[in-house]
Amino acid sequence: MDIREIFVELRTWTPYLAGGFLWNIIISFVSMTIGTLIGAVIAFMRASDEWIVRRPGNVLTEFSRGVPTFVFLFYLAYLLPSEVAVFGTVLPVPSWVKASLALSIAVVGFVSDNLSIVIRDWRAGRRESAVLFLPSWTTYFLIIVMSSSTASVIGVSEIVSRANTVIGAINKDHMMIWIYLYAMTWFFCFCYPLTLAMNYLKEQMKRRLWVAQTS
């Protein structure tokens, strides 16, 4: 097969695929936002002195850890209505919103666990884990970006689903693997450098905090 032909095809479809990847970022960001808000509430519940508040917080965290996100994606896709009436106006619930909600359940567990530690340390007068929360959160965001590819199975027009559309449109057997590999490259180029940067940032922060403590 001809390398030039592959290159031309990939370049032709790049804007379309890039638009799909933007959806991956949007879905991930929305699910991080929802998951962080709910997770934060649960984390504060778990840090409470009252067992009647603490206990539901623990149960909810356990639950969000146990739910398989991929199954939950189907669950919401089929059981959530495709439109809801809010104060008399009918609002559509597009499938990307369902995907964001499904992914956010994993974020709830992560934020609840990590923020609980932050709150506990903060109350004990230690500030380090609060500083480290940001790089951890960003690393988790990248994990969610990769998971957002599963939204393709319920028909969200993100990069993987668009890759399938492109494969259908080009309709050449040998192009299939190149398009999938190209979609993979997008994820790798976005996630790998950022993960490395976050790990570096975390190490720097730890070192600085350690220096600050000992001096």
Binding site: T69, V71, I144, V153, Y180
Partner: protein, 578 residues
Amino acid sequence: MPETRSGLLRAFATGRSHDSAGGAVRAGPTGRCRRLLARLALLVPALLAAGAVPAAAQVDPIDNIQRRGTLVVGVKNDYPLFGSVNPAGQLVGLEPDLAADLARRLNVSLTLVGVTSANRFQRLQDGTIDVMIATLGDTEQRRKIVTIVEPNYYASGVNVMTPPSSRIREWSELRGQRVCATQGTYFNRLMAERYLLDLQNYNSNRDARLALKDGRCVAWLYDDTAIAGDLQDAEWAGWRMPLQSVLLTPWAVALHPDARGSRLERLVGDAVADWHRTGFLIDAERKWNIPPGVFLQRTRDLWSETDGTGQPLCRRQANGQWPEVCRNQALLASNDASGVLRIGLVIKERTGLDLSVLYDRYDRNVFLFAVLQSLALIAACLVGGFASGVVGAILLDRRIPVVTHLASAAIAVTRMTPPLLQIYVVFFGVGSFVIAHWGLSVDGAIVAAICLSFYAGAGNAVAINEASEFLRARIPDFRLSLATLPQALRLSQGSIVSTLVNIVKATGMASAIAVPELISASTYVMAERGNASVMMNVLMVVYLLLVLAVVRLLDRLQKWFASPEREVRPLAVPRRAT
């Protein structure tokens, strides 16, 4: 109104007195009374039961046919392949062939009468035809107005027509895709809801197909038998009906309402059973170029099964009925059934919860097989994810010039790209290469198990490697090997366990390449039954139980592995989403 009522009572009384006298069913002076009775009985189902009781005493329709020497069968005259008129004016198709076989069995000649959906009941009730074989869907409503002969002889379903260039092979590939449809069919809304299709409705079949030709949608959704007819046309050469038909509606041979319990009903029922067992129907389907559907194959398999004593599983019982597993399960009531089947039907009747995985033999088998498939995937991912993690960590630790760099790069790529895409690349990319060069087809379950194992393995390798770095900083000359592995595992067990639990949660991804695991089975069953909320909850509960069982198992393993003298410090590795 009072006149009708007294007329009804009189007719009822007259009818009964003639029943005991043994009058002819359609011919003779009593025929009109009986017809009236039959019509009134149609309106009042309660009367129907009363009218059917004396049927045994009257002349059996089979005797009339034999006296006459001719069997009159109503078949469709407007349904290509199944029943239509050829240029010579003869009724031809699959259904006329079935009618001919019935006449042969009765040893009489055959007269075919063309009927349409609009007049077929009329023709049966007024005695123009003895038997109706006219693409009649078997429903509860129709069972009340005519005698439906079991077993069903065919089933139509919903399918799509796709252009020659289309790659669509599974219903799941149509999720979220734009699909053309014809307005006014009963299944459009059902299909949009159950398969998450983005339907575009057109006024006629013609418009919908033109839109498909213009590329405004990826497929046209319609009745499979009608699509099969269209595909015979030269205009659609190369076009396809690539999916397995769904929403199957079984078709039945029908007789006059009075023929319930008659010898004719029994003879026709035995004939249909025979058609399934001998493959007569499958041959007729092939003869008429109708794309083979799952119904005939599945029914043939069922009717060819034997019980422990070597007798056919589907044979008439003492009451003349077929066993419940051989009947149309959708129309069974709980008092027809026993065992798990009965529990499922009782739940359905009392609560409305349609647990077809309990009462329907086919759905139950699909689901049980899916549970086993998922368990096998889970076991493979647990073992594979752990083993490849250990191997990866050792490769990282050895610092062998090229090998370690390659391993390190492979691990980074595996961790930083979505596992779903990895599965696609291996299944479609590598898979099509393997098919093209060696003619081997790649099993989806194996591909999914390998990809998910490596994905988990990459995470585990990094965790174990971090632990061995930690040990190296404290123990001089520490090297990771099978002997020192337990030390590193003790430090990294927390993150290994969470990686393994996450990969178990992700095994559902195998459904994306049509592996018949739990998600595939659940979406299949609910699409057929329309019980989405029940099936989704069943799926969720089963999956949560599986995850819980794995968490317990890993917990046990950890306890067994932990030695009391060593403090275990979990390493902070971010939890992965699945």
